[in-house]
Symmetry: D3
Subunit: 136 residues, 6 copies
Amino acid sequence: MKISVFRQVHFNAAHRLHNPKWSDEKNKKVFGKCNNPNYHGHNYDLIVKVKGEIDPETGYVIDMKYLKDIIGEHVSDRFDHKNLNIDTEEFKNLNPTAENIAVVIWNILRLKIDDKHELSVRLYETPRNFVEYDGE
Amino acid sequence: MKISVFRQVHFNAAHRLHNPKWSDEKNKKVFGKCNNPNYHGHNYDLIVKVKGEIDPETGYVIDMKYLKDIIGEHVSDRFDHKNLNIDTEEFKNLNPTAENIAVVIWNILRLKIDDKHELSVRLYETPRNFVEYDGE
Amino acid sequence: MKISVFRQVHFNAAHRLHNPKWSDEKNKKVFGKCNNPNYHGHNYDLIVKVKGEIDPETGYVIDMKYLKDIIGEHVSDRFDHKNLNIDTEEFKNLNPTAENIAVVIWNILRLKIDDKHELSVRLYETPRNFVEYDGE
Amino acid sequence: MKISVFRQVHFNAAHRLHNPKWSDEKNKKVFGKCNNPNYHGHNYDLIVKVKGEIDPETGYVIDMKYLKDIIGEHVSDRFDHKNLNIDTEEFKNLNPTAENIAVVIWNILRLKIDDKHELSVRLYETPRNFVEYDGE
Amino acid sequence: MKISVFRQVHFNAAHRLHNPKWSDEKNKKVFGKCNNPNYHGHNYDLIVKVKGEIDPETGYVIDMKYLKDIIGEHVSDRFDHKNLNIDTEEFKNLNPTAENIAVVIWNILRLKIDDKHELSVRLYETPRNFVEYDGE
Amino acid sequence: MKISVFRQVHFNAAHRLHNPKWSDEKNKKVFGKCNNPNYHGHNYDLIVKVKGEIDPETGYVIDMKYLKDIIGEHVSDRFDHKNLNIDTEEFKNLNPTAENIAVVIWNILRLKIDDKHELSVRLYETPRNFVEYDGE
């Protein structure tokens, strides 16, 4: 009997979509306004889902406070109020699309969450554009 | 390694739930206020989900602008500010319940999105009533 | 010492913007898609604001259940799942723009709420388009 | 061909997280502020998902009014404006974590919904903390 | 030239509406389900509005971090995960209606915010029921 | 008899809070993470309010499509997917706090909207931090 628990957090960051192997012209054509050389930014909303069995002692799948804390330490503190392209190691050589950010966050959190738990992340770049990754 | 991307759009339409093979009495009993002969309407919110592999060149599963444009051309422009029962071919002989609208939209979009991508649609008739269809 | 209390309700309706004194061409030019002869519709969200003094016996400005009930009886039941242009007396000769609907609702509720209370209504036609009227 | 329909309802309740087999100290350490002996409370939002085939006569998977009514009778009326720990049978000996509340609600609704339909519930304790259970 | 800045915070609490000068019967009649002797609860959302001139050095009316901190210290920490009727001094002899909670919070914050600034608070008891108080 | 109409739009931008007359140390102390030299960003939500009399011919205070278009041309197109500090004239010598952005937008729109109409703007930097300016 498994149940999923979800925790939502947010962080604000600047980014720019750009492929350094392409000409400026092609970057502009493919990424449009998102290629602006001086960056733009978003209020990212992240929902982390952890699926597992309920511990009969606590009634919890996982302590939500612990989950909140590891997301804070390993995701929010790393990306909040940052320029993803410049200020982070992860996106120095990786285009910070919503897809790639979600995969990076999933890989970070997978190391911090017990293997017996399934993990999925949903990332809202805007309320109308979002992505979801579960490692499969 | 697959990831899902989501794009939300909205359209406003009038509709009426009605089964022409039934008596007025039975229609009224089954569909209640939704059977009002002069129609009522909704702000429909549609979330389209496309699942696939990330293109390493772009960092995209699918260009969100392309996705937005085909939803606009083939769904929003067709249904927005329309009376679904009268102004559309799709619902002349099909009851425009949220379920049927979702299936119709899925069938329209399936033809426009590459077969390598999985497709799912979620349709909100109101914030409290919604449906989801993935073609299975 | 005055405080405002707010109650939100919703109703779904079809409507069409049209001025019968104008040509079809002018109606189409001014009202665009909203002039569609077969109607379109919305999930309307209505927020009613009542301002007054707190009754020291109850701690209420006005009983929220009473407020909910008079909005239900005199507004929701009258407009919900209706075609505003056809099914209501109020809009047979009045263009059902958000502005006019808000004024009509304010006039209806003003008669039902004690004169010692100030009244204001906010009406969302969509989450992005809304109006507010306080009778002044 | 199966489709999912969702209905959202809400209820307000008080609760306290507590394991009677533990010392006060351990309860305080594990459950933190949620262990407050005098209770705290939430506006719970519940989304019930029913998956099945569309009835060709109605265009419905399940009559949403029926779904709303059984949720109202068997869930909202039982838990709304209640103290979960004191006023309900279900949580007299079960810690009312979001996980356990979701499982209890799923078990209640499973008995009321036709076996041919799949059932899942999502329960929001706050907009940022929520759980989902589908019986598997 | 004055501008308003707003900061939203939330807290979860249990409460019960009750007038000790009335009979149980009258309490039940007036307050309905909200009179439940064992309490119920809410996720309260509080929006604090401060109006004043923009400091040309900072571009701020008031440092939002300072505003967040004083709301946290004097409001959230005092009421979050508490039983308003039992755990707080403010509501031991005052019925914790949304109206009275808003006035109490306004009075607390008025002492902490510079007199040159206007102050208003909006308190959501649920997304559909809320109140607003500006001290006038 | 006056009524207010509101139109919401959004734009995404990067910015940095910084006072060039101050030391780096003081900037860091006052603006904290918002002073990050490489910028961060937001999804800004802008609500424009126009108050005036209802035109009896149209039932409109102002044509919402016209309002949407002038906001698009003079605000969204100017600021969307831009770095406010670098890519705009307005914030080259003005700190792009939410307060200052709101005043700039109000000044831009005031020139485009008929003097007979009152104008107010509300700007959300995040869902929890926002400002409002009406020119007074």
